[in-house]
Symmetry: C2
Subunit: 387 residues, 2 copies
């Protein structure tokens, strides 16, 4: 008798999370060892409610389209499972006779994975548990990088380059671009590539360094005065010298949390009021994790591969691991996959190396050596004819 498998998504999606789902489904079908392929409808919520989607007979042509579908095709949620939830999770696994469980997510999801694995073992339930990494923030440990990061970085880099060309081709204002990444600057750092792809000046501010607003404004004024346009790129979560976010909406939500947002608009307001320059703020926000035309082909292929590898590993009898990506960059980029223990990954945050932040607003070559292969190798070469 064949195996039954269950895959679930946790937390915010990436532009390639469905590529991993495609990899899971196609590897399961190719194995000849799988009877039923289930997906949790809206992540942990679906697991707790016993609401699974049966993907077993979904046409191959639909599964193939997953590679170009943004967000979570099976639904995700933000619910973090607590101790009290785990018995219900095990019940669902028993009810559907699940042999292999795949949880595709970030830090929290790997923690969940780890606990399900331990609990199942303790209760003598024969379920193999494998974590599939995913986060645009790139903050998972023990893997060279996370599926989803390359595409978010490519979005940040190319969008910033396009805005930079707009700013230098019609130099009437300072353009400020806000990018996602509340605590980690990995994605925003990629936007600094705009300074290398265009003739525009680019200043980049990451959440890893507290920002002296007066110095920031002085730097902006001096750079803009040189002419040729200026783009300022910022993480949504950058903080001032007092350690508090430069901006929030001032609104408290139903959960008692102050709603963040408006960092770029805040800086734009300061540029207008204090420097007397024109300025406008742009915030593509969630588009940075949802945009399909900017997807990195390398990221797409790796996201697919980690999904396949998870299934192949579980069917080979492995359990309690996350799939990790190991990468070689010289003489050319290549990557391979391995397994790392879930309990070593869970709840550890990989930090952006501070030595890659130069003078507070420039990004060092080291970052680009690391990140450019992940963004895909096909970078545009623009035709600039103006002086």
């Amino acid at each position: 008798m064949g195996k039954n498998i269950l895959v679930a998504h946790g937390g915010g999606p990436t532009a390639v999370i469905n590529c991993s789902l495609q990899g899971v489904v196609e590897a399961a079908r190719a194995s000849g060892q799988v009877d039923k392929i289930y997906a949790a409808c809206f992540g942990a919520e679906g697991i707790l409610a016993g609401d699974l989607i049966d993907l077993t007979d979904v046409p191959a042509s639909t599964i193939a389209r997953l590679g170009h579908t943004p967000a979570s095709a099976i639904g995700s949620c933000r619910r973090k499972l607590g101790e009290a939830d785990y018995p219900t999770v095990l019940e669902t696994l028993k009810k559907f006779d699940i042999d292999c469980f795949f949880y595709n997510g970030g830090n929290d999801s790997m923690d969940t994975c780890s606990k399900v694995n331990e609990l199942a073992k303790k209760e003598g339930l024969d379920v193999r548990v494998i974590g599939i990494p995913k986060t645009m923030d790139n903050d998972l440990d023990l893997t060279d990088h996370c599926p989803g990061f390359g595409s978010a970085a490519r979005y940040a880099a190319l969008s910033a380059a396009e805005l930079a060309l707009d700013a230098s081709g019609l130099p009437i204002h300072v353009v400020v671009l806000e990018l996602m990444g509340r605590n980690a600057g990995w994605v925003t750092a990629a936007s600094a590539l705009a300074g290398r792809l265009t003739d525009c000046q680019v200043l980049t501010y990451l959440p890893e360094v507290l920002v002296d607003e007066d110095k920031m404004l002085a730097d902006i004024e001096r750079a803009y005065a040189r002419g040729k346009g200026l783009l300022v790129t910022v993480s949504e979560g950058i903080c001032g010298l007092d350690g508090k976010p430069l901006a929030d909406t001032g609104i408290v939500d139903g959960f008692g949390h102050t709603v963040p947002g408006g960092t770029a608009q805040h800086i734009t307001d300061q540029i207008i009021q204090k420097l007397g320059l024109k300025s406008r703020a742009e915030k593509p926000g969630l588009l940075g994790r949802a945009s399909i035309p900017y997807v990195s082909q390398v990221d797409r292929e790796e996201a697919y591969a980690v999904g396949r590898f998870a299934v192949e590993s579980a069917l080979a009898g492995e359990s309690g691991y996350m799939v990790a990506i190991d990468a070689v960059r010289k003489p050319a980029y290549s990557s391979s996959l391995s397994l790392v223990p879930l309990d070593k990954v869970a709840n550890v945050e990989k930090k952006f190396p501070l030595e890659w932040i130069v003078d507070g607003n420039q990004i060092a070559d080291g970052f680009f050596d690391y990140a450019m292969p992940l963004m895909g190798e096909d970078f545009p070469e623009y035709a600039l004819l103006r002086r």
Copy 2:
């Protein structure tokens, strides 16, 4: 002896303005009748300063890359020429011995074109003047549509669809998307396509209809309660029942104008405060006119064609016209080019038909019949597996 030609950009760029420039240069080269190809460095500013870029010997491979370069490759400016400037314009035309002058822009630029044409005639200067249309706003009259609109519309439609999938795949908040178009809703209307490409509910608000904020919030509350996620798309310039913009930054710039902006953020704030729902605002802003990966192939080809046609028309002796696009949509889309008198186009604004706005927040089929062929025919078919 061959002709000398001059091409200039006016106002804000589109994603395909450089395609028209490519068309101008390649048609001039192919004609065998052109000696010198000049471009005004930063538009009217370059013309007034006599600062022209000599494109005559720029390699063909660089010119070919224009088709994938956003913003203005030769530079543009917002300066509107006044009566006092025209003698200086004629001086530059004389100084560089210009036989054909091409101005690539929107309403204001066509007005400039028309005046240069009349003045040159009056002064006995043998200069042929042809306007090349360009505006993402699609508000030029006497042409079926404007180069630049199809790509801006495609950006709005596909970005909105991607955000809609994010909103329905992780339905934790109302997502509000702000799009460019202060007075004209053409581009924002295209975002309503998201409701047809995805499983998410979409409400769309254009500047052509005054918005009753209480009704808007009630509509948002009702739609969100139905589940499945909700995306609200708005023009940056929508106004309340009092005829005033729903939001501005409250900041007065150096020119005494109140700085617009923040419409989506304002609506998001209202949703959080008055409805107690989570919400976030996104504003890709200038990316809507600068993004190359979302360019419509139809738009790219037409933008190129109008540039070529302008040169061919001038070399054939025509002057005082703008290139217009005539389109047929049934049984299949095709377009052809013609010339319309500059003085009939200048300063006329093509309005979005009110009958295409249904119930204040839905867009009628008529608009999609009109606009979809311009956005390119290759629309994504997403794989949605969730219930």
